[in-house]
Amino acid sequence: MSAPIKSVLVCGSGLAYEMTLAALSLNLPGDIQITALQLGGLVNRDSFYGHLTAPSAYNFFLSLGLDEPNLILNSQTNFSFGTAYESWAGHLNWTQCFHQPFPVWDNIAMHQYAVHMKAPFSAFLINSVAGLNGRFAHPPHDKNNPLSRAEYGYVFDPDDITALLRSATTSARLVRQSGVFSKLLSKNGTHYSLELDDGTLIETDFIVDCSGYDSPLSENFELGATRIAKTNKEAVTPGISLKHIKANPMGWESVVRLQRENLHLSVGLEGSISDPDYVVGIGRKLSPWKSNYLALGHAACVVEPLTPAPMMLLQRDIERLLSLFPVSSDMTVEAKEYNRLSGNDLEHCQLFQRSMFEIKNAPKSAYWNQVTNTPAPKKLERKIEQFLSRGYVTMYDLEPFHAEDWIIQHFGLGRQPERYDIYLDQLSEKQISQRLGQLSANINSMVQKMPPGDRYVQNFRRYLEKKHGV
């Protein structure tokens, strides 16, 4: 007979660790004891979560007890409409903005109109236009306002969020301690407990390992490639409301504008950056949940932070843990479902990122060669073929990136469908160009009225301070 779960041990440090603790403290039944074991000696690689969240982070942060006012007032977190890629593959520039479903006119999706006119697609995306002009405002509810279709994520400093969560997550059943890991002990080869280097034995029903890429709790995972990375901060540049990523022959660099600082990240092949902060392997554990041990965050998988994928995966894994939190010591069924779903999510995020390298006239740089040295997966080939054939977007089960993300990316990478939707033949050329012209004019006039991003966040902050009496 399997016994009910009464205790959980979360070990590690940093962003995934504090997010998991916040989520569990706020959502687990009251009689489950939570032990937080802060492990010493771990390398901080949280910048590899990429400094940018997807729009769904708004609700996710809420579920961790952090609402938007708290984030804005008590950390350097700022708003972002998406990512601007510059000189990608040496010649491509586009904005991968967050967007709600595109308008549909006469039962035909807006992007088909753009295919028909071979018009530059970004002109029809309000947050791309606003972002490139350094503007920001919260999207209104009014559906007639073109800005209502925009979505935004957050740019953030992971250490900032970690500290904020740490101070906010207090609960009587949460016991924090620290130590240095020695070994995992296994009862009958299935149930694990943990021993510290001072000989203390921690018995628990369930272990969640958030100790990062080189987790001392388990073997390293299957590696694809290695990267080195370095962050640095500098004085803030006004007027940026996008994350910027610029490719170079050995890797890429990104910058996000926080409220008071710019945060840079350089990522590249080994030897490409002097004095890097860390080395990290890109890869995954095939079964992050085994027996009563679950690896989460970078302990489960590392994805290159070229898109918000790393944060999406972290968020989804924590949400998944909550929905599949084991009810008894026999967790085989939960583990199987968790591994299935997290495997799917990772695969789908990897498709989105891999897609960025499927370009004609790709540079022959060392970095590019390394990423493309294995052929693109079949699922990706199908997506690209379908889009090139007639602008059709193939979607798989519960993909983290939405159809809009894919369409924006395809256009951004210069993929031009051969044919447009046949139903457009029922409209005249004039009708088609008027529709697009009108949308673009509305967007331009709206963007003119939007404030620069830095001014917007300052004013928003002032408003919050007044409201919250800070």
Binding site: P4, N27, L28, P29, G30, D31, I32, V115, H116, M117, K118, S323, L324, P326, V327, S328, D330, V333, E334, K336, E337, R340, L341, R382, E385, Q386, S389, R390, Y392, T394, M395, D397, L398, E399, Q416, P417, E418, R419, Y420, D421, I422, Y423, L424, D425, Q426
Partner: protein, 508 residues
Amino acid sequence: MASSQGKKIRSIVVLGGGSAGWMTAATLSRMLKPEDVKVTLIESEQIGTVGVGEATIPDIINFNAMLGIDEREFMAATNATFKLGIEFNNWGKRGDSYMHPFGLQGADMMGIDFHQFWLYSHQQGNSKPIWKYSISAEAAYDNKFVLPVNDNRSVVSQIRYAYHFDATLYARFLRKYAEERGVVRVEGKVVDVGQNDQTGYIETLKLGSGEEIEGDFFFDCTGFRAMLMGKTLGVKFDDWGHWLPCNAAQTAACKDTGPLKPYTVATAKDAGWQWRIPTQTRVGNGHIYSQNFMSDDEAVDILVKDMENKPMNDPRLIRFRTGCQKSFWEKNCIAVGLSAGFLEPLESTSLYLIQVGISRFIALYPDGNLSSVVREEYNRQIRQLFVQVRDFIILHYKATQRTDTEFWEYCRNMSVPDSLKDKMDLFRAGGRVFRYEDDLFGKTSWIAVLLGQNVFPEVVDPIVSDLPIAQVERSLASMTKSIGDAVLKMPTHKEFIGQYCPSPMAKA
């Protein structure tokens, strides 16, 4: 400027004039201009149609809306009634009864699924079944009906419905629609198919009269015959008979004497099950069974015995095979309807599968070169749908505790696809439901059948079982009260039909 097409498809031929054929022709006539693409439908009165297929699921509303069909007009013309769900009798154990309603059962609270609250209160002695928290089910059992309102604050907004109708009249209704929009109907039996020597693509259909009909693209809507897909193009069939063991039906209609029920009844029998589907003019009955476990004569006896009135016609035998084609789109031909596959009518999904078969074609509308890219994507999507629906239907057979007949012993002990086994295991462990994005049957449906057939999780969500029971009972009671109040104010199903969409044939 880009073009919509390379070489264009200029003519499409639909072979078959059952529901599948006319649904296809109607959709094509709505989406394509006759001057661009000529649509021809061939049907043979000599062969006739299968003539069953009376119950639907709510998605049919979208199909009709896409065609721009007026609901009242359509209902009056097809003798249609409303359907709020399916009542299943004797499935878990003999004597059991549950409802699989359309729409929600209860409201999720605190981000936790409603059924967890229900399970908790059930453990604590609440004897109300879970469908008591569904407005569709409660209205159904009271023989009441109203259309949903567009106001989230009202429980009446949660009503979801479909139709029961006369399938032959539906095909006739769509025929009129399609012919008005330029579809050309040809009467005749196709006796030969002309294919391109090199590519094997279909080029002409030859009628018994000697007439030849040419086309660029063909729809095989020939029912179980699958004349183009199977016979001409040689596509193989994936037989799922080991999971869905019924392979025959006896059908007959009778007069309706009771109040007009807004739901289908599916009663498990010794070697299968029997449906009861009320339209405005009659009740359709059918006994689905496995010939491996029961003789045809026995099946007829059971059918007739369980009908409330004498049959209006001699019971008709229909043999079938459950499964689907290995490919739905082969060369320049797509199979839609029974020619694509059949999963038996337990959850009324066949017309829906037709609907998706056509709409996916429309979404992927190819140019005349018919690239394999488009075809593969179509086949992937349709197969996924068949597999998902298949698993849900198998669940009804597998999740039985019946041991009283060989047939049910077989079903209880049969191995099921891994995809279904995993779903059942996950639910048994903690009451959690597998998620697939495009699953036709969502959480509520899975839960209705699992709980309705006595598959209970070992543990209830610990957060819920931590709550004071009185608090949970209060929330549940307020749900049943608002549902009860709303149902009380509804007209009866018969009254509603009488003023909304009476069929001239019903009045006569």
